[in-house]
């Protein structure tokens, strides 16, 4: 199915939503649901839409969408065509009878040949408790890894007005803040974790540089500084201890380090 022309370039993402306009993919997501929705359910659909923008899709749609989903490289997460096409598919989630508990299985869209399915899955759950929505994004159980969670105030983002004539997005407020919270606290850290499991580099960062570049700056570090760098995380540890500058230096073990003039010694 061909994609429509996007008329309004001012309104491309959920964070651009105002009471006058909503991005096309958000309108598709909202149209697939019932016309009368509680604020909690609308907020859950918003969370799902931000998940689409963050490189996720509904796992139940993964077979259906294999034909038209473009793989997303690890250095990015937003792919506009993926988001538009996926937003036309009805989101699949389970909801409790009293519409206070929601659960949806998500799957990260990652361009990786060594994909172990469990590494890409995440379970999104939402508990509506009074005015609060408690969200949790959990990796597959077999990964034995921590999940991420966040609390949102429902009336802060979805007004409680009910009007059948007006489109539901007129009830939305502070979409930029909502997008930032969801991405910062849930979707980005989870996706980074999944990329780490696949040993895909997340984005250019200190521990994700091409191997040959580490030579260039490790030779400028003294043994104290190399020790500190080696203790940041496992990936940097492996990089530092195998580097010839570290092996050739008279390196001392962390717990027997003598005092040096390094300011870092006094800063912990």
């Amino acid at each position: 199915m061909p994609l429509p022309e996007i008329a309004n370039l001012e309104c491309l993402l959920v964070l651009d939503t105002t009471s006058e306009c909503a991005p096309l993919h958000l309108q598709y997501v909202l149209s697939s649901a019932d016309c009368f929705q509680s604020s909690g359910e609308l907020l859950f659909l918003l969370v799902y839409t931000v998940a689409l923008e963050s490189g996720y899709m509904c796992e139940a749609n993964s077979n259906l969408s294999k034909a038209f989903i473009s793989p997303v490289p690890s250095i990015s997460s937003f792919h506009s065509k993926n988001v538009l096409r996926l937003s036309r598919l009805k989101p699949t989630f389970t909801a409790s009878a009293d519409r206070t508990r929601y659960a949806m299985k998500l799957c990260s869209i990652i361009d990786s040949r060594q994909v172990v399915p469990e590494q890409m899955h995440a379970l999104l759950t939402a508990i509506v408790s009074g005015d609060l929505m408690i969200l949790a994004l959990s990796p597959a159980n077999c990964m034995y890894a921590d999940g991420f969670s966040s609390v949102l105030s429902i009336p802060r983002y979805v007004l409680n007005t009910q009007s059948k004539e007006n489109p539901p997005f007129q009830r939305f407020r502070k979409m930029a803040e909502l997008t930032n919270i969801l991405r910062d606290e849930l979707f980005v850290p989870m996706r980074n974790k999944q990329l780490y499991w696949m040993q895909a580099h997340v984005y250019p960062s200190l521990d994700a540089l091409p191997a040959e570049l580490y030579e260039y700056f490790l030779k400028h570090l003294d043994k104290n500084q190399m020790n500190i760098l080696a203790n940041v995380n496992r990936s940097l540890h492996n990089i530092v201890i195998r580097n010839k500058y570290f092996l050739n230096s008279d390196h001392l073990r962390r717990d027997h380090l003598s005092r040096s003039n390094s300011v870092l010694y006094y800063l912990h």
């Binding site: 389970t94 379970l123 408790s129 921590d146 609390v151 912990h268």
Partner: protein, 274 residues
């Protein structure tokens, strides 16, 4: 630090009170979470539900027992706890073959979660703790790390459990720290009167704070280790506290002879500012 037996002391008593209520594996996981909260982190259970207001009479109440009907709902658990006069809500949601347990601090709105599979973790719903949940120690550790720690800063009665991996104190140490910290970490006993010092700073003058000069010499009174330093005013004999020498004193040979500064240096233009 104790053996697994010590950590789970008290579990049998709790289990006896809920034995008849347990009807599914997830119940055991919730009961274990309750045990970790109440036995080792001093939380007290004040009832069921998600009510976020703390009534006055609830502040003083609280029990280590699970309330009646705690597992009446097939797919949901909601328990209220009080710790340090703050309300916490433990929620459990059974979905997609897993249980997601969430702990919410109602005042700060900090939340944590853990997702578990009861089929993998629970072997049986009766018997001893290690028979029912073979990895109970590791699971209790996970509860503490993933559920409790993000949400509250309190004193644990016992901070470590016997696990196969290294103890939690080294897991939590700052990887950027060099050497052992001078200050004891949070949660350990501070003997009264010991002042924590910042890292890396020498204890200069420590003895001044103590009449018996136990911390080494101080700076207020002359110390005997440098008797040859004569920089006091004439007749005072020896070093005076906080005395700043104000000039060459002819009767004290503090400068070598001849004094190199008794004349201006050769080629001196008369301008001290170069």
């Amino acid at each position: 630090m104790g053996s697994p037996g010590d950590y789970f002391y008290g579990w049998n008593l709790l289990y006896k009170t809920i034995e008849k209520d347990i009807n599914k594996k997830d119940d055991l996981l919730i009961a274990l979470a309750h045990f970790v909260l109440t036995k080792h982190s001093l939380f007290r259970c004040i009832g069921l539900g998600e009510n976020k207001t703390l009534a006055e009479e609830e502040e003083a109440s609280g029990s280590e027992l699970l309330p009646d009907n705690w597992n009446a709902d097939e797919n949901n658990y909601a328990l209220r706890y009080i710790y340090d006069k703050l309300l916490y809500i433990l929620l459990g949601l059974r979905t997609e073959g897993s249980i997601i347990i969430t702990l919410l601090n109602v005042k700060t709105l900090k939340v944590s979660n853990i997702c578990l599979s009861s089929e993998e973790l629970v072997s049986d719903i009766s018997g001893s703790i290690t028979k029912m949940i073979p990895s109970a120690s590791q699971l209790a550790d996970r509860y503490r790390r993933e559920l409790l720690e993000p949400v509250y800063q309190g004193q644990n009665r016992s901070t470590t459990t016997q696990t196969n991996t290294t103890s939690t104190t080294t897991d939590r140490s700052d990887p950027l720290r060099i050497g052992t910290p001078l200050r004891p970490s949070l949660g350990q006993y501070h003997p009264a009167g010991v002042e924590p010092r910042p890292f890396g700073f020498p204890e200069v003058g420590r003895g001044d704070l103590d009449p018996f000069a136990r911390g080494g010499h101080g700076n207020l009174l002359p110390f005997p280790s440098r008797p040859d330093f004569h920089a006091g005013p004439g007749g005072s004999g020896g070093m005076q506290p906080r005395f700043d020498p104000f000039g060459p004193l002819p009767e004290r040979n503090i400068r070598p002879y001849p004094n190199p500064d008794h004349l201006p240096p050769p080629g001196f233009g008369g301008d001290y500012f170069m």
